[in-house]
């Protein structure tokens, strides 16, 4: 797949915009997942993931073709997300409980596109629960956890994506896991 992607990137660099479509299709779930893990809600994650791909497209000439494309793309996705977190006012998280309700959050106020089968709902609840716990971590721990459990990325790859030393990646993953362990104890 890596070779196919390389070929597509070459075409995009030459001005073939349509070739970018396959790149987006191939990486969309990964990029969306990074953004979702970082920001914690679907609508913003979609917005951020789109922005990441658009930035990648606009800056494609600065991508060094001898390097791994996914490293570069994931870096853009984490940077876009971190920028958003920095700018964000902390008081309108969709996960926040709606005042005057019990256990109702803004997710429940959004209409879903289609009814979900029970199994899916169960895993979605788990998903939401774990995501809430991830959101309780500081962003720098969130990003390493997001990347580590995205695609079994190696510590070295994570260090390249986030542009921090491998030792720092290790420390953050360890601390992130310890913090999550405490919070997930009741599941």
């Amino acid at each position: 797949m890596e070779t196919v992607i390389k070929q597509k990137i070459k075409q995009v660099k030459k001005g073939d915009h349509a070739a970018f479509e396959d790149v987006v299709t191939f990486y969309q779930n990964k990029v969306y997942q990074i953004c979702f893990r970082m920001i914690g809600n679907k609508h913003e994650a979609e917005d951020l993931a789109q922005e990441a791909f658009i930035r990648a497209f606009v800056n494609i000439q600065s991508f060094d073709s001898t390097k791994k494309f996914s490293t570069w793309l994931y870096r853009i996705a984490t940077n876009v997300s971190i920028d958003r977190i920095r700018k964000k006012k902390p008081d309108y998280y969709l996960d926040a409980e709606v005042k005057g309700t019990e256990g109702l959050d803004m997710y429940s106020q959004l209409s879903s596109d289609q009814p979900l089968p029970e199994e899916e709902l169960e895993s979605l609840e788990m998903q939401t629960y774990i995501q809430n716990e991830i959101m309780a971590l500081p962003p720098k721990y969130r990003s390493v956890i997001a990347l580590r459990y995205l695609d079994e990325l190696s510590l070295l790859e994570i260090s390249e994506i986030l542009d921090i030393p491998v030792g720092t990646v290790k420390t953050r993953i360890h601390r992130g896991r310890e913090a999550l362990k405490k919070r997930l104890r009741s599941v």
């Binding site: 969306y32 893990r37 497209f57 800056n59 998903q127 459990y149 896991r177």
Partner: protein
Amino acid sequence: MECNKEAIKLMHKYLDRELSQKEEQELRAHLQTCEKCQHHFHDLKRTVTLLESTSTIQAPSNFTAKVMDNLPKEKKRVSYMR
């Protein structure tokens, strides 16, 4: 072995698949004698399993089409990379 530091450090190395054979033996031997660390290790592995089992988040179905629609028509010269 000091539980709070050394053993926990080895547990994380294990989870990152960075444990040498010697360290693995050390950790194994310690876990056999220390119930507190057994629990700690169990909880950590469970956390990782939970994280892995929920790592199947999918982008919305029309995602690619939306990105393609939103691409700038002409290339701008903006440098993103630092």
